[in-house]
């Protein structure tokens, strides 16, 4: 790869242009027109073509390293952790000291929860991170054999890291719901428990879904589903549905936002209702109205206001805890 000759300024600017084209064509919103323009740029000079080939060679080199390795090793945060660990061990302190939360010593379990509209982040003592969305309840059950998070209600986002506590064998990580088990590879994923099913969206790495397999019914064997980054599936105790694409806003709630594109108003209102106490309902007359936008989950009143500003609906407040979205008169 190395040529031990610094690039000339012409070469440098050709590479920068090539990189801009590359970034443009990679985008989901790249148009056929962009491709035509790029082709014209490419044909305009051999230097352009050379720069483009450099870029392709680089991509080819990237492909030699598996995604999970690159993420774990080249991502700044992952590296900082490894560096910290290497320094600590060099100072003779062994592995990272355990426990921001002392509740998870082996065998013990604990319940963590959030109120309606609340969002909380927890650092587990194995290094994993757990985010609880609104009205969520989980039980943590960490033993010598495994790390288990049981989702009892609501929605979580998990960032699982390899077991950091000093043990001979890293313990497997399991997220359980009444509908089955989820076995992540150091993944980042969301799990949402509804009355009828559980929905999992994998954002990074992968996770295996075992429908029907729970602590209470370990003998049931249904086909497992492997979810990769960008994939999602809903499942219940009788099996999994088809694997689909994870929503691009799967973790927008982490930032207090609800991102919707072309969704029925009833669905959006139901989603907002999860984040506010009391009753928030949508009048059937406007239920199918298509809504797009980014709304605040931290302030659902503001979100409702935004909806009534942009769409032909009004918000009627019977009391503070009983709110209806209905058609605007004359609209």
């Amino acid at each position: 790869m190395a040529e031990s000759r610094p690039p000339s300024s012409a070469e440098e600017s050709a590479v920068r242009e090539a990189a801009r084209w590359f970034a443009c064509l990679m985008a989901e919103d790249a148009t056929p027109r962009d491709r035509v323009d790029w082709q014209a740029w490419l044909d305009a000079s051999p230097a352009h073509r050379q720069a483009w080939e450099r870029l392709q060679k680089m991509r080819c080199a990237f492909s030699r390293v598996p995604a999970n390795v690159a993420t774990a090793v080249l991502t700044p945060s992952a590296r900082r952790r490894a560096q910290r660990r290497s320094l600590l061990s060099l100072m003779g302190m062994g592995l990272l000291a355990t426990g921001a939360y002392g509740v998870m010593r082996s065998g013990e379990s604990d319940i963590w929860q959030t109120a309606t509209g609340e969002l909380r982040q927890f650092q587990l003592d194995d290094g994993s991170q757990l985010y609880l969305n609104t009205a969520t309840r989980v039980t943590l059950d960490f033993s010598d054999a495994r790390r288990r998070v049981v989702l009892r209600a609501g929605e979580i986002l998990m960032q699982v890291h390899q077991d950091r506590t000093s043990r001979a064998m890293p313990r497997p990580f399991v997220v359980s719901t009444p509908h089955g088990d989820i076995l992540p590879q150091e993944a980042r994923f969301t799990v949402r428990l509804d009355t009828r099913d559980t929905r999992v969206q994998v954002l990074q790495q992968s996770a295996t879904i075992l429908p029907g397999q729970t602590q209470d019914h370990p003998s049931i064997r249904l086909p497992a589903v492997l979810l990769r980054a960008g994939q999602a599936v809903s499942f219940d105790a009788d099996g999994a549905g088809p694997v689909g694409a994870a929503s691009v806003d799967a973790q927008a709630w982490l930032h207090g936002r609800l991102v919707v594109e072309d969704r029925p108003l009833a669905e959006v209102v139901a989603e907002l209702a999860r984040y506010r106490p009391g009753i928030l309902r949508c009048d059937p007359a406007v239920a199918d109205l298509k809504v797009s936008g980014v709304f605040s989950l931290r302030d659902t009143d503001e979100a409702l206001e935004a909806i009534s500003d942009s769409f032909p609906v009004q918000v009627r407040r019977h009391t503070r805890y009983w709110v209806t979205v209905l058609a605007r008169p004359g609209a």
């Binding site: 790869m1 190395a2 040529e3 031990s4 610094p6 690039p7 070469e11 440098e12 590479v15 920068r16 090539a18 990189a19 801009r20 590359f22 970034a23 990679m26 985008a27 989901e28 919103d29 720069a51 450099r54 870029l55 680089m58 991509r59 080199a61 990237f62 030699r64 390293v65 598996p66 995604a67 999970n68 390795v69 690159a70 993420t71 774990a72 090793v73 080249l74 991502t75 700044p76 945060s77 992952a78 590296r79 490894a82 560096q83 660990r85 290497s86 060099l90 003779g92 390899q162 890293p170 150091e186 954002l203 990074q204 980054a229 960008g230 691009v248 806003d249 799967a250 973790q251 927008a252």
Partner: protein
């Protein structure tokens, strides 16, 4: 590989005789294993010997030879830890794989070298730019998702990718 400058060899020889022991002791306070300290001591003198600009130790003696050596050695120590952190991070990934997925030793060596190379290329990039590149090029995430992950706009993601790709290609020259 840069060419070593032979004329300075005997000058470095003097430097070596006089400060070798001191440098090795200094390095032993920086890294835990004595062998690593010894290796780094050698590397430091090799680096000094191969320095692109000839040293004028005889004509205009280094005013602070130990400060100079410590600067060169300090850089090597930083590199040493960097490589070690990368190595550990990679070993952790390997340890987390099911046995049938662990690559052969040969593949491991290739991947390790590629990682060192990428790490060197990515050096100096803003952490978010670096992350955007990893998410896009290694994980294959769409821009929309990278934008959410990094909490930036789509336009910014596009700029990050352009910057990172140009940076890598230029670093590979």
């Amino acid at each position: 590989m840069k060419k070593c400058l032979a004329p300075t060899a005997h000058q470095v020889g003097g430097l070596y005789r006089e400060h070798h022991g001191w440098l090795r002791n200094w390095l032993r306070t920086k890294v835990r294993r004595a062998e690593d300290a010894d290796d780094l001591t050698q590397d430091t003198f090799v680096r000094v010997l191969c320095a692109a600009t000839p040293l004028h130790i005889d004509t205009s003696p280094l005013r602070e030879p130990r400060a100079y050596l410590a600067t060169v050695a300090g850089r090597l120590v930083a590199n040493f830890y960097r490589r070690q952190a990368l190595e550990i991070a990679y070993l952790e990934v390997l340890a987390s794989l099911p046995p049938q997925q662990v690559p052969s030793l040969e593949t491991q060596a290739l991947v390790r070298e590629a990682l060192f190379e990428f790490d060197r290329m990515l050096d100096g990039l803003d952490p978010k730019v670096r992350q955007a590149l990893v998410l896009s090029q290694f994980q294959g995430l769409p821009y929309t998702q990278i934008a959410v992950n990094l909490n930036v706009s789509l336009r910014t993601v596009k700029n990050y990718i352009a910057r990172a790709m140009a940076h890598c290609c230029l670093a590979a020259f």
